[in-house]
Amino acid sequence: MQNETGRAGKTVMTALGPIAPEELGFTSMHEHVMFQGAVLARRMREMIPAGHGLPIDADDKVSLENVGLLLNNSIMAWDALVQDDEDVMAGEVQDFKDAGGGAIVEVSVPGIQLATAPMRNISRRTGVHIVVSTGFYTWDSWPEEFRGLGVREYKRHMEGEIRHGVQGTDIRPGSLKIALEDLNEMEENALRAAAQLCGETGLPLTIHPCLKPGADQIQVIRILREEGVDLGRVVFAHTPVVSRPGLFRDLIDNPGLVKVTTELALRIMDEGANCSIEFENPLGFEMMGRYNLGDLWKTSGICKIIEAGYSGQLVLGNDCCGRTMLRRGGALGYLRLMGYGLTTLRDVAGVPESAIRRITVENPARILAH
């Protein structure tokens, strides 16, 4: 697609203004810096069994004393599902910088968006480029004012942010983000509006896929094509490379059900779109009968995509979305990508340096430049 010359004159819009794509360096393509996960908590808390007996209350703050329980049962306390402290987040971003990170794409949008104003401070303090996003999270998370609108209204809102700044700040977005829960009419309208803006402005579009049958990434690609989008500008986040039953009881007698499945990822990439896979810090749901699979299968899936020759359309991230995913909250934060992901790909799986550079530096620069 775009080679070095094709990129000439293009810039990446960051929280501190436009920069040349070459300045990005090592880029995490899916992150949350300031984050509000109350919607996720509300959705999941209904699934907590009554009488679970775990000694934790919804209003407890994350501490050394409860973090062990929270890591295995993330939705037990609201505090575990926010990233609301600017100083803490600056420290986390500094970790990323110290480990060789250059840029972060912050994909929090209305529904999970907490504050955009701190991005400029955090970027200045750490020297890490932060690309903020405009768009919409899943419909159930939206403030009332966004419900039930048409394509034109959603587009007008995002256009305003692109022109003037996100969330009432003068920080202009360098990325579009749409999350789909049901792909109902309002989500479809928001998706089409973002697709049109992707075509008109050249901003990259990250899509958090719908997990329900009949609205998967391939169906979304159909909508994007209808809107004339260049799929090379699109990143499908959370691309699944592992299939497995959700509940442990369905796995016990059928261990073969845990599988690496790269078919969907390769199909998305054959259509010309990019895939993001995140080395997530763990979120546990043990008391709901779920289980932690660890990172083996996902890492293996990433290796298979690279081996199949698709490293030119793969990007990575950590998708930190809650305090217990941070280095200062019981996990590795943005360091998961370097401290586990890249060292494993490079040192254990033998992925060549050129492919790692493509995935973490060249692809992000190409995708973010407009």
Binding site: L64, A99, V258, E286, S300
Partner: protein, 423 residues
């Protein structure tokens, strides 16, 4: 509270120690919530420990750190634990195997909220993560376990890793949780110098045996706290470890105590170990093998290439169970070694294998624990401590796997009572 006090073991000094007062100091938020949220669990805890201490009447007794108790007073037991423990040897053992990293941590760092995530993934990066050296903290861990219904803890710490036997007695007195201490020897790299590889040889067995006999008969380090179980750790299985295993087997044979053999490097040497145990007169029905792999164990690079190589596997366990030995499974807290290429694949595969063994009729030869072996595993500092048996172990077996109440009672109560009680 009265019930808890009544349940305190009848060890030396139990009557005059203000146990309730100590508990109050140790209790924090988590404890209060456990008490508030689990009234049933609290009363069950007292029940688990029996109505009161007292001398056993049927001739069999478990030797706890507070003296002998009847088998019926063991209650629900966690059979693979450490209480006061220094696992620093693990860092020395693995340091050379770690891949280079730039994680923001130094070996002298104290465990805190800012580094607990790093240390969970790589527990050997700081000494503090591998120690359980705070008596008040360990008392609280035991208290939390008791609150949920835990009756007894088998402590597999021995000379070289054990930090104070007197503390075990104080913790037991203060919490009402029975603690059984072990004698024996860790793998050769985790021992005091006088029992290292250099001292091995046939003459050595006598010295090893004398040490174990002393800890069983007189007590540990002059404390009067007597060992009620024997332990042998096998890593390289060189002469020093063979000596210790032979000595442990003889000590078990003559005392009637049970023993745990920890297979640090997997089940490859279990056959040789069982042969030696039999030669030395140990009753294999009194032997527990710990760390028996319940999955296949492909290397990291191979598993990345083909993750189907990693799967539940009962073969190693069955070879041990077929000889009449027991196995202990740990619902362990996260103590990762990612930089040593020990990959995290979750607990679903070993638990699936454990359930398969239970289904095939081996419940009478299975015991469980949480394998707490450092601060990083504790409820107060990054893990769920001994309580993981209740938070994860029992629910996953009972609710997800549908294991019968009978099998659970065997695994959690009857097998421990039988194994811990000597004639």
């Amino acid at each position: 509270m009265d019930k808890l006090r009544a349940g305190a073991p009848a060890g030396r000094g139990a009557a005059e120690k203000p146990a309730a007062e100590k508990r109050a100091v140790a209790e924090g938020q988590v404890a209060k919530k456990l008490a508030a949220g689990n009234p049933a669990a609290v009363s069950q805890a007292a029940e688990n420990r029996g109505a009161a201490g007292g001398q056993p009447s049927d001739g069999r007794a478990a030797m706890t750190v507070c003296g002998p108790v009847a088998p019926g007073e063991i209650g629900l037991a966690s059979m693979s634990e450490h209480v006061m423990y220094d696992g620093g040897f693990l860092r020395e053992r693995l340091l050379g195997r770690l891949r280079p990293h730039s994680l923001p941590i130094s070996e002298g760092d104290k465990l805190c909220l800012e580094n607990v995530g790093i240390l969970q993934k790589n527990c050997v990066l700081a000494w503090d993560a591998l120690r359980q050296d705070d008596e008040a903290a360990m008392q609280k861990e035991a208290m939390l376990f008791g609150r949920l219904g835990g009756g007894a803890i088998l402590d597999l710490s021995v000379c070289g890793t054990r930090l104070g036997a007197a503390a075990l007695r104080r913790i037991s007195e203060a919490t009402g949780v029975r603690i059984v201490a072990s004698s024996g020897f860790e793998a050769a790299d985790a021992r005091p110098a006088e029992f290292s590889e250099a001292s091995a040889g046939s003459a050595g067995v006598g010295a090893y045996l004398a040490h174990i006999r002393r800890e069983i008969g007189e007590g540990i380090d002059g404390t009067g706290v007597r060992a009620g179980h024997v332990y042998a750790g096998l890593l390289d299985f060189g002469p020093a470890e063979e000596c210790a295993l032979r000595a442990a087997a003889r000590a078990c044979g003559e005392s009637g105590l049970s023993m745990t053999v920890k297979l640090w490097r997997g089940a490859g040497c279990a056959g040789r170990a069982m042969k030696i145990l039999a030669e030395e007169g140990a009753d294999l029905a009194r032997v527990i093998f710990a760390n028996v792999p319940l999955t296949t164990t492909p290397g990291f690079a191979d598993a990345l290439r083909d993750p189907t190589l990693y799967r539940p596997d009962t073969e190693s366990a069955k070879a041990i169970l077929a000889r009449g030995c027991s196995i202990s499974y740990e619902f362990s807290n996260m103590m990762g070694l990612e930089l040593a290429d020990v990959y995290n694949a979750g607990d679903w595969a070993p638990i699936s294998a454990l359930v398969a063994l239970i289904r095939e009729g081996y419940a009478a030869q299975i015991v469980v624990g949480t394998g707490c072996a450092g601060k990083i595993a504790l409820h107060q500092s990054g893990g769920e401590g001994f309580c993981r048996l209740f938070y994860r172990g029992i629910p996953v077996l009972r609710d997800a796997a549908g294991v019968s109440d009978y099998a659970l009672r065997l695994i959690m109560r009857r097998n421990p009572a039988t194994l811990l009680s000597a004639r």
